[in-house]
Subunit: 331 residues, 2 copies
């Protein structure tokens, strides 16, 4: 038979659909007899409630939208994996939106997710100025990204990370430190920390930014140009993939690492740790970032449903999670 519905279960058990629904949702008073009969009917028929119909009523879909630049990037892949798993533990599903570094698509996705009645959104893209987050009337949590005054941000301690990396580079004997980052704007705490620490030693902070949207081949070309041009003997890359590009350049051009040039990355995704454990890097607590974002968004969803007092009006001030220096042989 086709997929059984509530009606079929009710007929099979000899009760009303109301009663079946109550057993399913465990609400109201039920005699043990009825409960048993209904449960038997459910398993005999292999009944599974229709999530769509349920969503239409309660205004809960139990789906959270997850917006990222791209899961092809190991950092975001690991973050999404952590998010999805924590969501599953809390009974939610993840609708994945992979923006491919494209701001226009992000705005579309925001619309799409709301049309599909997701209960909340976790967003972690690099795009600034995406319209729509302000207007959205559902719980939103940002991961390492500032998108609006009232949107809580989950992040790790970028300033401490930037400081750790830079101090380590200098401690290893770097005289001409270079920072390579994606975008060098005011909110870039890793860059800010780099500048502070370097300047405090009386050295000159040199910073180069490749831009998120730059395709990989050009990005590599840019980076190699900067390395040659600056003659840096220590490089802090604010993501591991860039650090590995620097390492590759050193290999190609016959520089000894760390003797001629010291290299430190940022992120510490499992993939990089596995494939290139020798890379010194600042380890972000990726799983914790994901889990914390889920807690915040789900707590808000459920608080709204319960009509409770607004959950933590000050969650926007989440304390940053700790980072850790992971030593390899590249420094």
């Amino acid at each position: 038979m086709a997929r059984p519905k509530l009606h079929d279960v009710a007929a099979h058990a000899g009760v009303s659909v109301t009663t079946v629904s109550r057993v399913l949702n465990n609400r109201g008073y039920l005699s043990d007899d009825v409960r048993t009969r209904v449960n038997t009917a459910i398993s005999e028929l292999g009944y599974r409630p229709d999530g769509i119909a349920r969503s239409l009523i309660g205004r809960k879909s139990a789906i959270v939208g997850v917006i990222v630049p791209t899961v092809a990037d190991p950092f975001f892949g690991e973050l999404v994996s952590a998010i999805e798993n924590r969501l599953a533990e809390r009974g939610y599903k993840a609708m994945l939106c992979d923006c491919q570094e494209n701001a226009a698509r992000e705005a579309d996705y925001l619309d799409l997710l709301q049309a599909n009645r997701v209960d909340g959104i976790i967003t972690s893209t690099h795009n600034r100025d995406v319209e729509g987050y302000g207007k959205a009337e559902l719980p939103i949590v940002a991961v390492d990204r500032r998108i609006g005054a009232h949107i809580p941000i989950v992040r790790s301690d970028n300033r401490a990370g930037g400081r750790l990396a830079t101090e380590h580079l200098l401690a290893r004997g770097t005289r001409t430190p270079l920072l390579i980052t994606a975008t060098d704007h005011a909110g870039n705490d890793r860059a800010a920390a780099f500048r502070e620490v370097v300047a405090a030693r009386g050295l000159e902070p040199v910073v180069r930014a490749y831009g998120y949207a730059t395709p990989f081949p050009q990005r590599r070309a840019l980076i190699e140009t900067w390395l040659a041009e600056t003659g840096a003997d220590g490089v802090f890359a604010t993501d591991d993939l860039t650090a590995l590009m620097v390492l590759e350049w050193a290999h190609k051009t016959g520089r000894a690492v760390p003797h001629d040039v010291r290299i430190i990355g940022y992120d510490g995704s499992a993939a990089v740790r596995l494939g290139m454990p020798g890379l010194t890097t600042v380890q972000q607590p990726i799983a914790q970032l994901g889990a914390r974002a889920v807690e915040l968004v789900v707590d808000r969803i459920e608080a709204e449903a319960d009509d409770e007092a607004e959950v933590g009006a000050d969650t926007a001030a989440e304390p940053p999670l700790p980072v850790e220096l992971r030593l390899g042989w590249t420094t």
Copy 2:
């Protein structure tokens, strides 16, 4: 005002809800006047149809479930990114199921996806013998994985890839080739090709399998043991991350690459190409794999909806997509 509904638009435009629905779906005859008034009302109210309600009627949710071991792995991350993007182009959303290499969770997900009325499923995990795929009554497509007689498989040419890799290793002067793979079962075409090519040269094929479920630290330990024990001077790893672990071991133990040991990987994900372009590897057409899987599953979904003749009963025999040798300095 709260989210506007069809009723509100109808009132605003002075027509019936039926008419608004027809404008929305562009079906039946409509006078231009009515069409214009409705469209105006829609934009004035900022109306967006409710996807949930729509799904409940047409039995289409426009959601496809995507089941993978984990997007934290760069290969699967890139695959999912490609899948999600092609799905978006065809008007579908992706519900992500990240199994964390856990067969039990995969079975749960299969259930969950059906309860949420996804229109189809793309699956690409390593688990064998997951119950439920046989019983599922919706379009399913597997990526590089055999799960049932009638489930089409999208894959690249593993046999050719295995041959390319092995021949290349031998051409570079390897005398004692070692294959490191996840599981050494009959369906592993890369391993089969390795054995064939090595045996044809009168050498002895040595094969070691670490098992998907093995946690990373143990995996590394295993691999290092094998490398020491076999004294191999050429290693073919059937995934790039493992190849990078071999490279790291060579570095740690002072082996020169490729002089003392040649190393070739498999997959060629963008992340690895970017971070470690020097790795010789067999490049899979990851984006094409994802796109092709989407075409197959969406074609089937839409054929069912149109009640057309069964789409390609023989799609299970999809020809494999071509792979390519990518040369680096590790061989």
